[in-house]
Amino acid sequence: MSSTSQKHKEFVAEPMGEKPVMALAGIGDVLGRRLEEKGFDKAYVVLGQFLVLKKDEELFREWLKDTCGANSKQQGDCYGCLREWCDSFL
């Protein structure tokens, strides 16, 4: 899990506000579009799912895979960035 990627750092640095879902680490254009199609258009919607799964890594990774077909690295990036965001802002 590359927790030091630029995207990760930018996301974790500040409150997410109205950032689009593509701002999440590990979520690029393709995955972001798929998530938007399913209604997860903002990063905070994904955060809501992350929280309702009680920050469980296994379940969140699986959900991400089922929802947008993220691979293992993308799942890890997204999970890590949300968890770190929660650690600092929740």
Partner: protein, 300 residues
């Protein structure tokens, strides 16, 4: 197997709880995930109950990680309890497992003493392991075997104590006595490395001085004492200096050179000295000669 889709949210949650999973809110967006998880747990458990002999340790491990809090109450009636009880009803299996090298303890057979001791003193694991093996009372083990229901009733309480993942590798340690004896002698040798072994095994050693024993445990081997800055400086200087043997060799070389020079210069030096001497011996006469007229002059 029950059709998972037909369960209500609450039933699903209760079922997950029985498998040790503390489920979060089961809502539209999470229900599918929890159904899948429950299905996985059920199939995994079915496999475990079929060949539970091999997977007992693993199973209890994975279960332990997921839900520690609610295990005492809700799991008593769970199917896995039956499988464990079945195992413990078979004493021959138990004995075999206890002596074999790759020992997997079912939950109720892991001796609690050993685990606690290992936690308390992780640095002397081997010795502690041996001691706890000997300390684990045979009587209680026998009681466990003969009284499996009671044993099971005890196990969930102790579980959170000694079945955490970091303890599990320790259960695979060989159960023979020899390594323990070795470790004991090792400790003795470590304490008194320079004592000779006597045939009786009894040795008298002088007492070690206790260095800085203000509440600190006494070690028998101290690492190199830290050097003072002055000593370090001196060492550094010594490293830069020319070694002593080179100094001696250079000294002798210089001495030899001087001697050779002296030998070779002896002959030529004689002449200047002799000429000087001769000139000195002649000069006074000339001086005298020179002085004499002066004196003669003064006299005249």
């Amino acid at each position: 197997m029950v059709d998972l889709c037909s369960l209500t949210d609450n039933q699903l949650k209760h079922k997950l709880l029985r498998y040790g999973v503390k489920a979060g809110p089961i809502v539209a967006s999470t229900r599918a995930l929890y159904e899948k998880k429950l299905y996985r747990m059920m199939t995994q458990h079915l496999q475990n109950s079929v060949n539970s002999k091999d997977d007992a340790g693993k199973y209890s491990d994975s279960e332990e990680e997921k839900g520690e809090e609610e295990e005492s109450g809700s799991e008593l009636l769970g199917p896995e309890s039956v499988s464990i009880t079945d195992q413990s009803l078979n004493p021959s299996t138990v004995g075999l497992k206890y002596q074999s090298n790759e020992t997997f303890y079912p939950q109720c057979f892991a001796p609690p003493m050993r685990q606690i001791e290992n936690r308390l003193s992780p640095q002397s694991k081997s010795a502690e392991t041996e001691r706890s093996y000997s300390q684990t009372p045979l009587a209680s083990r026998a009681q466990w075997v003969s009284n499996p229901i009671k044993c099971f009733n005890r196990s969930p309480v102790n579980e959170s104590l000694y079945l955490t993942p970091e303890c599990l590798p320790l259960q695979k340690q060989p159960t023979t006595i020899e390594p323990a004896i070795e470790s004991v002698t090792d400790v003795l040798m470590e304490m008194f490395p320079d004592t000779a072994m006597t045939p009786t095994g009894i040795t008298a050693t002088k007492r070690r001085s206790i260095k800085g024993a203000a509440g600190r445990p006494v070690q028998f081997k101290y690492p190199d004492t830290p050097l003072s800055p002055a000593t370090l400086e001196r060492q550094e200087i010594q490293q830069r200096l020319v070694p002593l043997w080179v100094q001696i060799v250079v000294f002798f070389l210089v001495v030899a050179l001087l001697y050779v020079m002296y030998i070779s210069m002896e002959e030529p030096l004689e002449n200047p000295f002799s000429t000087l001497l001769s000139s000195l011996s002649q000069e006074p006469s000339s001086d005298d000669l020179a002085l004499v007229p002066n004196s003669q002059d003064t006299h005249t």
